[in-house]
C-alpha cells in the first residue's frame, strides 16, 4: 500500500502510495505526522491537507495511462514543509495538470507553487506550506 524512505542527511522523506482516492488519507496522515513537530498550527495542518487532497486529486483526474502510485516527497525546512506530489502515469492529451480552479485552491493554502514535468512525461506539482500564522 505505501512505502516510506527517509534520508537523514537532508530530512527528505519520500512516500509511495497506491493511487486511489481511498489512499489519499495515507498521504494526508503522513503529512500531518511530519508537519506537527515543525509547530504547524491547526489551521496550517488543515491547509496542508487541502493542498495534498487537491494535488492527489489532479493526479487521478489527469493521468493517462492511469497512475498506479502517488509519489510524494516531504522536505521540512525553516520556512515550512515543501511537498512534491506526482503520479507515475502520463498526462492525458490536452489536459492541464493544474486547472484554474485547482491553482486557485493551491495558491490560497500554499506558497511557491511549481509545476513539474519530467522528461519521461510524468507531471506533478511542488508547493510549500508555512507552519505558523
Amino acid at each position: 500500500m505505501a512505502s516510506v524512505q527517509s534520508n537523514e542527511l537532508s530530512d527528505l522523506i519520500t512516500l509511495r502510495v497506491t493511487a486511489t482516492t481511498g489512499h489519499v488519507g495515507v498521504a494526508r496522515a503522513a503529512a500531518t505526522a511530519i508537519a506537527a513537530p515543525l509547530d504547524f498550527t491547526y489551521d496550517r495542518l488543515t491547509d496542508l491537507h487541502i493542498a495534498i487532497d487537491e494535488a492527489c486529486g489532479r493526479v487521478l483526474a489527469t493521468s493517462d495511462p492511469p497512475a498506479g502510485h502517488f509519489e510524494l516527497t516531504f522536505e521540512p525546512g525553516e520556512a515550512g514543509l515543501t511537498v512534491t506530489v506526482r503520479g507515475d502515469g502520463g498526462l492525458k492529451p490536452g489536459a492541464q495538470f493544474l486547472n484554474s480552479w485547482s491553482r486557485t485552491i493551491l495558491e490560497a493554502v500554499a506558497r511557491d507553487i511549481e509545476l513539474l514535468e519530467a522528461p519521461d512525461g510524468r507531471v506533478g506539482v511542488r508547493f510549500r506550506v508555512e507552519g505558523g500564522e
Binding site: 488519507g25 509547530d39 496550517r44
Partner: protein
C-alpha cells in the same frame, strides 16, 4: 405549551410513593405517570446535547428511552432521589446515541471521544492565544500526547457531516434558514467558469466558506468565527465541499 405545562413535574414525596405502588401493583398507568412527570428532565438533558448535528426531537426520543429504562430499574428503597438516579442513565443513552449513530465510519470510541474533546480545546485555545494553536499546545491543554492529538484529528474525517437542512439549534431553524440571502461576492465567485454550475448546486454556507477561504484569504479560524461554528467543523466542511467539486469536475 411547554413540556412542564403538558406534564407537570410530580412532587418528590409523591414520586417515592408512586414508585412504591408501581413495585406492588405494576400498574401501567402509574408507570406512564412517572415517565410523563419526568419529561421535563428528559428535555433539559437532551438540550445539553443539541447543536451537535442531531435534531432535538431525535435527542428527546433517545433521552426518553433512557428515562423509561431508569423508571423500570429504579428501586424506591434506595436512599437517592429518582432524578439523581435517572440523570446518568439518560445522559448515558444520549452519549451512546452519538457514539453509535453520529459516525459514518466506525471509529474507535476512544478516538470519537478524543475528537469531540479536541474540538472544544481548539476553540478555547484559539480564543486564548488569538491564533490557531499548534499540535503541541493542543496536546498540553487536552492533557494528552501529540500522537493522540494527531490520531484524534485524523479521525475527524470519518465524522458524519451535519445536514444543512437539519435543525441547527433550539429554535429549529435549519442552517439554510439562518444563513440568509446571497450577496454580491458570492455572485462573483459563481462566475468562476470551470466550476460555476457546480457551485450553484452547493448550499449557501459552503459557497460562502469557499469564497472566504480561497478568494478572500481568510483563515479557517476567521471563517469559524464569522459563521459561528467550530474550526474543526469548518475544516470538515471545506474538505467535503472540495471533494464534491473535484468529483463533479471529473465526472
Amino acid at each position: 405549551m411547554s413540556v412542564q405545562e403538558r406534564h407537570p413535574q410530580i412532587p418528590k414525596p409523591e414520586v417515592k410513593e408512586l414508585f412504591r405502588k408501581l413495585g406492588e401493583t405494576e400498574d401501567p398507568e402509574i408507570r406512564t405517570r412517572l415517565i410523563e412527570g419526568h419529561l421535563g428532565l428528559v428535555e433539559y438533558l437532551a438540550r445539553r446535547f443539541a447543536g451537535r448535528g442531531e435534531p432535538l426531537d431525535d435527542l428527546i426520543q433517545v433521552a426518553t428511552i433512557g428515562l423509561v429504562k431508569a423508571v423500570d430499574r429504579f428501586d424506591p428503597d434506595r436512599e437517592v432521589e429518582f432524578s439523581t438516579y435517572a440523570t446518568p442513565t439518560i445522559v448515558g443513552e444520549l452519549k451512546r446515541h452519538f457514539r453509535d449513530k453520529g459516525w459514518a465510519v466506525r471509529v474507535p470510541r476512544r478516538l470519537q471521544e478524543l475528537n469531540l474533546r479536541l474540538g472544544s480545546v481548539i476553540g478555547k485555545l484559539s480564543q486564548d492565544l488569538q491564533r490557531s494553536p499548534t499540535v503541541a499546545e493542543i496536546a498540553r491543554a487536552a492533557g494528552t500526547t501529540e500522537d493522540e492529538v494527531l490520531e484524534g484529528l485524523d479521525s475527524a474525517h470519518a465524522y458524519r457531516l451535519i445536514s444543512l437542512d437539519a435543525p441547527a439549534g433550539e429554535e429549529g431553524l435549519s442552517y439554510h434558514e439562518q444563513i440568509g440571502g446571497n450577496d454580491a461576492s458570492l455572485e462573483a465567485l459563481e462566475d468562476w467558469v470551470s466550476v460555476g454550475p457546480l457551485l450553484g448546486q452547493l448550499p449557501a454556507r459552503e459557497r460562502r466558506m469557499l469564497y472566504l477561504r480561497f478568494f478572500k484569504g481568510k483563515t479557517q479560524s476567521e471563517i469559524a468565527d464569522e459563521l459561528g461554528i467550530s474550526q474543526m467543523h469548518v475544516s470538515r466542511l471545506l474538505a467535503k465541499t472540495l471533494a464534491t467539486l473535484r468529483q463533479g469536475l471529473e465526472g
